[in-house]
């Protein structure tokens, strides 16, 4: 019964929160309270996660902090307090909407469904969905998966893509939807699946953590590209401009390259593994021409 109560509670709370909690803009709110609340994840390595301290770290957290620096300057508030609020993939949108979180920079894909609920900053990262497989598996690209067991993480675009490939190209794959990336990799490792389809950067992360990284390979033509963005409340152009400007400035100054190298091409906590994930041509293009559109809109 406890589970049902939770469901009912969330539905009821959902109903109550329809009333706008913050008619005022986010900038006004920040000025008035002297604080900004950043949403973060607990294990989106290396984007936003908790390692050895209570403060979240990661690539997206660094970008969010650059935004905070700009706010301090623009609003002339050198003592602006930063509060961190943990979000999950299920809570991140409602918590932004109801005003608990002002800005969520993690590993959230910008897509059309989400754009109806929140606004996105210009893109902060771009991934392609590819395959992780054993070097000896013989799988080089998606057509090789015909009739095989393929694992992906439940609720991701990859899952939708795999199922669409079955529906449209009749590949006849058995799609296993695991609960998180770690478990997807376990399915791959224990031989339940021959390949793991996911965002290439996350695949690189799983590979780096494996007992013998050299046994594995990321392969296949990307089936889709996704742009990650920071989420904020809808219809707040002043705040959005500040956020976008801060990110554009990073791109323009080339400072982004330092941040990128720190998280994707050097050892990162907690286990000091190096993802060895060079910047993709797609992301390089995004840096040249920043946009807040989703990849499907491009």
């Amino acid at each position: 019964m406890r589970f049902h109560q939770k469901l009912i509670a969330s539905a009821v709370v959902g109903g109550l929160l329809v009333t706008p909690a913050f008619a005022e803009g986010t900038l006004d709110k920040i000025k008035k309270t002297g604080t900004i609340t950043l949403g973060h994840r607990d294990s989106s390595i290396p984007f936003s996660y908790l390692a050895n301290s209570p403060q979240p770290i990661g690539y997206s957290v660094d970008i969010a902090n650059k935004v905070v620096d700009k706010l301090k300057k623009d609003l002339n508030m050198p003592n602006l307090q930063v509060k961190y609020n943990l979000v999950t993939s299920q809570t991140r949108i409602p918590l932004v909407q109801n005003g608990t979180v002002d800005l969520e920079c993690g590993s959230t894909t910008n897509n059309l469904e989400r754009q109806r609920q929140v606004d996105f900053s210009v893109g902060i990262f771009e991934i392609g969905t590819r395959l992780l497989t054993k070097k000896t598996s013989g799988v080089k690209d998606f057509p090789d998966l015909k009739g095989k067991n393929v694992v992906t993480t439940a609720g991701t675009t990859s899952e939708r893509l795999l199922k669409s490939m079955n529906a449209e190209q009749g590949l006849g794959m058995n799609v296993i939807s695991a609960k998180d990336h770690g478990e997807s990799f376990l399915m791959l490792e224990t031989g339940r699946a021959v390949a793991f389809m996911m965002d290439d950067v996350l695949l690189a992360g799983e590979m780096a953590k494996a007992k013998r990284p050299a046994d594995w390979v990321v392969t296949g033509k990307p089936q889709s590209f996704e742009i990650y963005g920071c989420m904020m409340r809808k219809g707040d152009p002043a705040f959005k401009k500040t956020v976008d400007d801060a990110i554009r400035a990073l791109y323009k100054s080339g400072e982004i390259n330092k941040i990128y190298a720190k998280w994707f091409q050097s050892p990162v906590p907690p286990k000091n593994v190096n993802l060895n994930f060079p910047m993709s041509p797609e992301f390089k293009k995004l840096i040249q021409n920043p946009t807040d559109k989703s990849a499907e809109q491009m």
């Binding site: 019964m1 589970f3 049902h4 469901l7 009912i8 969330s10 539905a11 959902g14 109903g15 929160l17 329809v18 009333t19 706008p20 909690a21 993939s89 299920q90 949108i93 409602p94 909407q97 109801n98 005003g99 897509n111 469904e113 989400r114 109806r116 609920q117 067991n149 694992v151 439940a154 609720g155 991701t156 899952e159 939708r160 199922k163 669409s164 529906a167 449209e168 058995n174 799609v175 296993i176 939807s177 695991a178 609960k179 478990e183 376990l186 399915m187 224990t190 031989g191 339940r192 699946a193 409340r233 809808k234 219809g235």
Partner: protein, 248 residues
């Protein structure tokens, strides 16, 4: 808060073939029911046998049943699921391993694992209810039946179990509801039951509240019908004057 409500979301395309989100809920409900019902039937049968074993004078048999209950009641359900899904198949002979892990449809192998997991877990709980039910009966019942020339199996079959099961219908009802609730662990090994489909709908459509509201409604109706069904059963088998049974 500026949430974008959209109750029509359930009829929108999921982007996969020509499925709509509602199809996901229907499929999810189907798996939830298929897991829970099959596991329940096994749990009931196995639990009854174990419950009887625990009340037998034979020390070895009751010891086995007691050990079973201790093991399956005290190890967390999630751990048991992982054992069934990841470890048990590795104990099979090489050929069977390949068959179970690779040739068998992964949905089927996940289904088998989760049914085994829930059935064995719930059997331990049913066992305890059956034991309590039997022990709640006056000793005179056994004596009377023995005095009439019944063998021990006959005593259980005709005298003890019919009474014990009537007494324990209410606690069994709550175990029955529990198995539906617990069936949501299936999503952890990739079986897309109702909760998993709900989360997936929420994730893909970004209409979280609608998805969870519908799930709440489905669970609620499911629960209610199960309780009504068990209430009906309780009335139907009620016998005047028997403790704990529905009649007076």
């Amino acid at each position: 808060m500026n949430y974008h409500w959209d109750w029509a979301v359930f009829f929108k395309s999921t982007g996969i073939g020509d499925e709509i989100y509602l199809d996901w809920f229907v499929a999810g409900l189907g798996w939830t029911v298929a897991v829970a019902l099959v596991a329940w039937c096994i749990a009931l049968a196995l639990g009854a046998v174990l419950g009887v074993m625990r009340t037998l004078p034979n020390k070895a048999l009751s010891g086995v049943a007691t050990a079973y209950v201790e093991l399956f009641r005290n190890v967390p359900l999630l751990v048991q699921l992982f054992v069934w899904y990841f470890l048990v198949p590795d104990l099979l002979p090489e050929r069977a391993q390949v068959w179970f892990k690779q040739e068998l449809n992964p949905t089927t192998s996940a289904y088998l694992s989760v049914v085994a997991c829930l059935a064995f877990f719930t059997a331990a709980r049913v066992c305890e209810q059956v034991r309590t039910g039997i022990q709640a009966l006056p000793r005179g019942q056994t004596m009377a039946a023995m005095a009439m020339g019944f063998s021990l199996p006959q005593v259980y079959r005709h005298v003890l179990l019919p009474q014990a099961f009537r007494i324990i219908i209410p606690p069994l009802t709550s175990e029955f509801l529990n198995i539906f609730k617990n069936s949501s662990v299936a999503s952890l090994i990739g079986l897309m039951e109702l909760l998993a489909q709900t989360k997936q709908t929420a994730e893909f459509s970004a209409n979280l509240f609608e998805a969870f509201t519908l799930a709440t409604l489905i669970y609620f109706v499911l629960n209610m019908s199960l309780m009504k069904g068990m209430g009906w059963l309780e009335k139907r088998v009620a016998v005047p004057g028997l403790i704990g049974s529905g009649g007076k």
